[in-house]
Amino acid sequence: MTVKHHLTDELLMAYSAGDLPEAVNLIVATHISLCDECRAALGSYDAVGGAVLDTCDTVEMSKNSLNSVLDMIHAQDSQVQDKPVSTTVQDDVLPAPLIDYIGGGLDSVRWRSAGMGVKQAILPTSKDATARLLYIPAGTAIPDHGHHGLELTLVLKGAFQDEGGYFGRGDIEVASEDLNHTPVADISEDCICLAVTDAPLKFKGLVPRIAQPFLGI
């Protein structure tokens, strides 16, 4: 794996603390599925969470607590034996978190045209941020979109180039509103990306901004 563009510490820590909108969680989880460097960094932030849990006060559990818990595990164990969960769908392009949201592999994506051969599919997440899959034909430029707010773009297939550099599979571009960029898909093959933009208000942890999602949504 040769991922060169990674998540920021801020995003990793917020993901670890569980403070991000669902769409941002989705792109973070998808990148980590492709990037062991960030998986390890997340592990270190989770370890901070573990240390916080350790230093937490304690609040006594109620009297019947243990018995209820034991009842629950007995009831389950008599029903189903614990078996490892295996993902039924495998996809060369889409990591597991995306398969969950699409409900299948790449051929299950319901693309809609966004003009100039570009296609997109909005994924079902909470409204505080938007996740969309983008299909960009080889060599096509996404028109300059000086977006407001945060924009995260993760390459799943092919590659694109913009002012921020060259992004291949697994690379994520974290663009704040001051980056005015014009991504151009690499000429060698069509490019599929997951792009997440934060919507108005509610993006806890970052300065609320007015979203101006691109591609007319």
Binding site: T8, D9, E10, L12, M13, A14, S16, A17, G18, D19, E22, N25, L26, A29, T30, I32, S33, D36, E37, R39, A40, A41, G43, S44, Y45, D46, A47, V48, G49, G50, A51, V52, L53, D54, T55, C56, D57, T58, V59, E60, M61, S62, S65, L66, S68, V69, L70, M72, I73, Q76, D82, P84, P95, A96, P97, D100, Y101, S126, G205, L206
Partner: protein, 218 residues
């Protein structure tokens, strides 16, 4: 890095804990005894052997100990994130049931018991308070062939302990800031880059564990 003399100072007091396979330099001290010992649990890696006993042997006595230690902490944690006592009690119970159900996913070379249980409690929090499921990274499955060796496990667990001490040693204000971030009442932007905690070493250890895992999956 981890040296043999650290290992040997640990191993004599800690014959094979339930389900933990000792290797290399540890093996000669193990004597094949399969007992839970206070040594490993209390001095070096608290709760690891109990969690592994739950994982490998479905050991209910070990689970009850895990429950006794972590239940009240998880409940307190959930109350700090904004749940009332009744809801936190209910959720803490469910977190512990998840510990039992997902024990097969616990990898002691990548997370301390507190860390692993924290992630379950956090997911429960998102589930309940935000009524959302949380997208998780693709699992890295691991079988017996990928079993971490004892040095890796001890290294990670010691690193986790050190991180805990570092957190307790931080100036109070800074520590509160980090705690608040994890309870969910503070923005992360101003502290993520400067937690004041030594995260580099623990990250490298987890990275090594992942490399081993990737290698064994090939």
């Amino acid at each position: 890095m981890f040296t043999t003399n650290v290992l040997s100072s640990v191993c004599p007091a800690s014959p094979v804990a339930n389900g933990v396979k000792m290797r290399d330099s540890c093996k000669e001290h193990a004597n094949g005894t399969k007992t839970l010992t206070e040594g490993l649990r209390n001095t070096v890696v608290p709760w690891v052997d109990d969690l592994i006993a739950v994982r490998d042997d479905r050991d209910e006595t070990a689970f009850i100990r895990v429950f006794g230690h972590f239940g009240p902490r998880v409940k307190a944690f959930l109350m700090r994130t904004g749940m009332d006592a009744a809801l936190a009690e209910e959720c803490a119970q469910e977190v512990l049931v998840t510990v039992w159900n997902k024990a097969h996913l616990y990898d002691a070379s990548r997370a301390s018991p507190s860390t692993w249980i924290f992630t379950i409690a956090r997911n429960k929090k998102i589930d309940v308070l935000r009524k959302q499921r949380r997208p998780e990274p693709e699992d890295l499955p691991w079988g017996p062939e990928a079993e971490p060796d004892q040095a890796e496990v001890l290294g990670l667990q010691q690193e986790s302990e050190q991180l805990g001490r570092a957190l307790r040693d931080l100036p109070e204000k800074q520590r509160e800031l980090i705690e608040k971030a994890y309870f969910g009442d503070l923005s992360h932007s101003e502290i993520a880059d400067q937690t004041g905690l030594p995260l580099g070493t623990i990250k490298s250890r987890i990275r090594l564990a992942l490399e081993r895992l990737r290698h064994s999956m090939k």
